[in-house]
Symmetry: C2
Subunit: 338 residues, 2 copies
Amino acid sequence: MTRRRRGTQRVTMEDVARLASVSPSTVSLYLRRPAEVSPVRAQTIQAAIDRLGYLPNTMAGGLASSRSKIIGVLVPTITNSFFSETLETLEHHLRRAGYQLLIGNTEFDVEREEELLRSLMSWNPAGLVLTGFAHNRKTRALLLNSEVPIVEMWDYGSPGLDMVVGFSHFQCGRLMAEHFLAAGYRQVAFISTRFARDIRAHDRYEGFRQCMEEAGAHVVKKELAGRSDTRETGDIMHRLMVDEPEIEAVACSNDMVALGVMLECQRQGWAIPHRVAVAGFGNQDFTGSTVPPMTTIEPPRQAIGENIARLLINRLRGESCDQTLLDLGVRLIAREST
Amino acid sequence: MTRRRRGTQRVTMEDVARLASVSPSTVSLYLRRPAEVSPVRAQTIQAAIDRLGYLPNTMAGGLASSRSKIIGVLVPTITNSFFSETLETLEHHLRRAGYQLLIGNTEFDVEREEELLRSLMSWNPAGLVLTGFAHNRKTRALLLNSEVPIVEMWDYGSPGLDMVVGFSHFQCGRLMAEHFLAAGYRQVAFISTRFARDIRAHDRYEGFRQCMEEAGAHVVKKELAGRSDTRETGDIMHRLMVDEPEIEAVACSNDMVALGVMLECQRQGWAIPHRVAVAGFGNQDFTGSTVPPMTTIEPPRQAIGENIARLLINRLRGESCDQTLLDLGVRLIAREST
DNA sequence: TCCTGTTTTCGCAGCGCTGCGAAAAGGACG
DNA sequence: CGTCCTTTTCGCAGCGCTGCGAAAACAGGA
């Protein structure tokens, strides 16, 4: 097979072996388990590697050993500090264990998730990380048929395909409701990004609504048409002010929405929290310095990444995993906006 | 080689071939160029694939053809809407051309960049995308020795290793300075995240400073210790208010910093823009609805991704590339904060 | 020096696929 | 029915590496 080489690996293990006057097997062994090669050889081989600038061919290695150092991760979007921080932490911890992340964006679409999963699985990954429990039937089948360790993240509750690392969004909603109730708010609203796009926001709403209604309070629901755009949020809040002037507090599906609400209040001269209280979700960086500082909920962004890495590494080492269902919980951060 | 199969590909091309009563070569051909297989066979083969749930082994394919459908991308961080939006667009466009992104976080560290690049190159990628021009010597050597198409993004100006897609941060700074000068501001400050971390912010500062000084204006520089944290930004702004009370306008290295500044002004009762003008960089979603709406600069986040995808795909198709140095420019969005 | 046990090195048969060249199957026409 | 040309299918030799089992080298003791 003579072919034009296109970005082809120039230097092979054989070249290194030849230069170091050893067999390719020895080079391979040196690369995989250096301690099992005599110090003299090791040095010669390393010198040859450096001299030739040899880079191992991961594909060849993966094929031969029929296992890869790839972890496939599917998130709805990386343009969201929730997932991107988890991804960053996850990649940080997995890389030091020699793993490489392969990231796919499902764009909140289960069909797309299936498609991406197929493409991920064709890499023969060592592990898979999915976001949430909402998968279509084929995805589920694909996953159950494989023996790859699977983590479902950023949610908690459903049975789960294998391992689960996240927290309950329903509880999250209840937590905020309890906070509102304790402050005496009874006429409240929940402003959210589109539920169809974000099931977890919907769960938070449900928890919130249920808890409020149990206490006999009234909840008005408002859904944005798109993502958490502060402009649209402002419009929605404005309408709410007109339609439901008796409103006392507004819970938002995330901090960005809450910021939009607060800015609209400022524009309309509604004092926070005296005229209306506002709370967000996410504890994003800016929430501590809004005027007034925003009450919000801190999700375990980084802890999710850390724990997934830990579980995955343990599992891949073949160690027994005690806890494979983790509810990492959340923390309500009460500030002056409520 | 009998070995315990660990996440091993269960169904191979041979299995499919057997079930469809054709040779493996035909299956391979069908998968790669379906038009060259007779319709009858095509159908039989597809049926066999569906029946067995066959997933091709990308590693084997990549090894055999000695080319991969991988594009390696190195960004400083994905926790930043600048890069994450570019990444999302890039991945979107490259995926439809059959490419898979392999993302690495350099964490603003050139040594780490080198390390990640090595690991990326061991995948034998079809293309590489790096952020900016700041690479160490070994990285440069590694890159120049390979025949892989390379794109340097999010900057413009230096010679460049191969292709360049971005814009001039220096010009960006000048643009803001011109805007300030036109508004009559002469006593100004530039508040920025750490230059050591973000060279591009430094370039923007330099453009800004130079242009202002050419006009005889005075520029105070303030650098944050960490990332764009609104709390720290508030402190810095506060100190600025005390130290330089005659300040007329503040340019910030990004919108988040500008938000922190605006919130501090609100807290101190400094009216924007009458007491002091504030401008950001990034045109993030919320900038349109701050009080007052924020003047900022819109970088071509998505256009960068689109253009990289286009250049890369063209190059990989072997088509001649006319323009491989793209300055996509920026747009100043003048709002009421200046 | 020979024997035995241990450490180090090596040879070889794949991993699952691609892509060339050749063989086989179809089609058109005299 | 045979010939020639086109279309479709197939056989085979790798791609660069791993990992087993065996061979070689070394070390220590009799």
